[in-house]
């Protein structure tokens, strides 16, 4: 069965050109970048070239980019690194209630250890209000961490506005740009941030590699101690092949942003229009305009997201849902709940994210499948009659 992948926000295929760029650094130029001999040097040079080009692409200097094992490590390094480093100055962190688990669970961990955390509310579109940040700042605040765009609902946050506030208060500002890097312009200067997390596998690079931008002058307590790689910020033998692949992916993807934005936005809006028109009792989650070009998130009343997702999967369509249902973990998306959705609606949410290989045929195909599936599942649902009093 042909499969249609519409879960690009979860991860993307590695571009074959990226894989090709990686291969020589696995089997041929395999030296340990810390080795002083020629094998080591050629690996080191490849890493520094990659660092330079990634730094360039976000308006940073090479020395401000730390390679990590992914977005999760970058978020952990930023939040824990700043918190541990500034223990004597304060204990208060401001974040939002819709951050990725890599940030929010890190904050919860710190909270258990005694830090104070403010989890800012968002409005019904998922937007953080910069004024709330201003109000939340105390003289013990050591970090503000607000994501650039949300991974579930695609809402793009007012990072530059927040940065003005943090700059004035002289508090380090971290943004998780894992969902935006390679998808919309990301520039540390125009955003005005002090720390910024990115991850290669969201932009057609390999999994297991990411980076943290740390503004010159800002000091972090490392998560890993050891050989002192990455300017002592992140010990461990460097993942040369993946770093090279990351840079290649950035190169290829960033070029495409202007054209892909137009193409994906139009596919996205085609789908949104289609589902809202063709299926009753559905609604778009996330901001209608301030939204990632490739993100669709809809609530479909009376039915449960995971069952929709699996029905789609049986038809070869891969999407994601804000609801997970397992014996160990229950509960709908914390993002949708924070946006004020009733729990039942949050359970009926579907995330469809588009990418380089998505075309109009896919959009039509998933719309058709979705109509059939929703009809079938609603016929089974006890909620339909309860809510609408029809059968």
């Amino acid at each position: 069965m042909k499969r249609i992948y519409l879960d690009y926000a979860a991860t993307t295929p590695t571009d074959p050109e990226v894989a090709k760029a990686m291969l020589p650094y696995l089997t041929k130029s395999y030296g340990n970048p810390s080795s002083l001999h020629s094998f080591g040097l050629e690996a080191k040079e490849a890493i520094e070239e990659a660092r330079g080009s990634i730094a360039d692409s976000i308006g940073a200097r090479s020395s401000e980019v730390i390679f990590t094992s992914g977005g999760t490590e970058a978020d952990n390094l930023a939040i824990k690194g700043i918190t541990f480093q500034n223990k004597s100055r304060g204990d208060h962190i401001i974040t939002s209630s819709i951050e990725h688990p890599a940030a929010i669970e890190t904050c919860k961990f710190l909270e258990k250890r005694g830090n104070r955390i403010t989890y800012l509310r968002v409005d019904s579109n998922g937007l953080v209000d910069p004024d709330e940040i201003k109000k939340a700042i105390t003289n013990k605040t050591i970090l503000v961490s607000i994501m650039h765009a949300n991974n579930e609902v695609g809402t793009i946050e007012p990072i530059a506005d927040i940065a003005k506030i943090t700059k004035e208060a002289d508090i380090p500002f971290h943004t998780d740009a894992v969902q935006t890097f390679g998808h919309i312009p990301v520039n540390v200067k125009s955003l005005g941030v002090d720390l910024l997390s990115v991850s290669a596998h969201k932009l057609y690079g390999p999994k297991g590699i990411g980076a943290l931008y740390v503004r010159k002058g800002l000091e972090l307590t490392p998560l890993f101690h050891g050989g002192g790689q990455e300017n002592k910020n992140r010990s461990g033998t460097e993942n040369t092949a993946s770093i090279v692949g990351f840079a290649k992916a950035v190169d290829l993807t960033i070029q495409e942003i202007p054209t892909e934005t137009i193409r994906l936005t139009s596919l996205r809006d085609l789908f949104i229009k289609g589902i809202l028109e063709k299926i009753d009792d559905t609604r778009l989650n996330g901001h209608p305009q301030l939204r990632l070009p490739n993100n669709i998130n809809v609530s479909i009343d009376y039915i449960e997201g995971e069952s929709v997702m699996l029905n789609l999967d049986l038809e070869g369509i891969c999407v994601s849902t804000g609801s997970a249902c397992s014996s160990s973990e229950h509960g709908p998306s914390h993002v949708l709940l924070a946006m004020g959705l009733p729990r039942e609606q949050a359970y009926g949410s579907l995330r469809i994210t588009l990418g380089r290989w998505t075309n109009e045929t896919h959009i039509e195909y998933i719309l058709d499948s979705l109509i059939k599936i929703v009809t079938k599942l609603r016929a089974m649902s006890p909620l339909v009659v309860k809510v609408k009093n029809i059968e």
Partner: protein, 130 residues
Amino acid sequence: MMAKGLFNFSKKILERFSNPENVGRIVKPDGIGYVSDPSHGIDLELYIKINNSIITEAKFKAFGCAATIATISMVSEMIEGKSIDQALAISEDEISAALNGLPPSKMHCARLGRELISSAIYDSKKRSNI
């Protein structure tokens, strides 16, 4: 490298879930079971007809995940033709076995199935006592 089955579900679960049997309501049921926890994404109804302590018909409605739908459909079928006591004696393992095995992360569905049977039979007893 093709997936062996969603969630590692058995073929039986996938079939059940794509084309569940016994969907619907019974107009004049002898008992209705409810397990409702919409805040946990679950709302289940089981309708039964009883004749001489034998369950003669069962139908269900379900708001829940794929495994829940498959399980409740299976449960509705398992109790048909059984006596009330036999139906109450069905274990979680039996329900799982009838589906050729629920994955560990979905074992709670079998528990929901048992609760739903109990609830429907309890309701039928209440009704017949009136």
